[in-house]
Symmetry: D2
Subunit: 99 residues, 4 copies
């Protein structure tokens, strides 16, 4: 089962700047070989369900290992059987209707 | 790693009423033996990370099997190392400050 | 336009315990006269769109005033034209399918 | 109060393809003069709180007017007092830590 996900990891108790923790999650996704695209309030991810979920778990483990004792993550998960759709397909589909 | 989760599964292309699909997810969580509590915009879940995530995957599989060809899920995931906290502990912690 | 909302306010830079800030948001909702129900990962709210949104803004203002310099909120917003549905109706609708 | 938001509008009861409804929301944001950036699972928005919230309400009104009788929206709202940060600043802040 393929999934399009959107991941937003928020470490608590580490002060106001969280970008170092988000950067660590980007490294996790890159190491996992998953297609991913950072945006201003999270990261889009595309891949097989188990691979994406293993990476999300690794993000929590690595962010905790960096010293964040509490994490609150928001994760969106989109699956569909009717057709195979990439991150770029989803954006193109909306943009084609704006022309 | 223990997690407190909040799960909201939205099936698309099945009309306006989605409660039958949400009920199926409740059955999945019960069968998995996970502590869970339905609210008006999702379901709180408490358990080990891998068990919770296996149940979330099963929810997608079962809702697709019911005929929903597309699903968009919102999942919140809270982990903390500083202490063990149950669903009820979280609610009690807020309520104690309202007295 | 009536809305069923789910609000989860996360203050950053204030340490690991956030329940005092969540409690302040509960007070804001009560003062606004909105039907609301706390759960373990947020609060369900029912009301007119503008009243609910004014309360969410007030939550940010009050949590900032308590000393949290950064806030990240997750808000779900459900509107429907086909029928009027309360928080309790939504829960009852799922539970009736579990019997 | 300035806000960085992430908006994901899901119309129900309109079939599997929702891109026409997302495109309408993009038009609403453009008409409102708000800085916004579409991604594969939502749209980042930057602006004053009241202007952003008025646009989100307009999105619901316009998507309902297109024939979607039910909508479920996920909205993230980030506010901070310590400094002024744009959508691009947030992305640059993470990327600078990946070099």
């Amino acid at each position: 089962m393929k999934v399009i996900a959107d991941l937003c990891v928020i470490p608590l108790g580490v002060g106001l700047s969280v970008s170092a923790y988000v950067a660590e999650c980007e490294r996790v996704l890159a190491e996992a070989g998953l297609t991913h695209e950072l945006h201003a309030y999270g990261t889009n991810i595309e891949g097989e369900w188990d691979a994406v979920m293993a990476a999300v778990k690794m993000c929590h483990e690595r962010v905790h290992a960096m010293g964040a004792e509490r994490i609150s993550t928001s994760l969106k998960l989109g699956t569909r059987l009717d057709r195979n759709q990439s991150l770029q397909d989803k954006i193109d589909s909306v943009r084609s209707k704006l022309d």
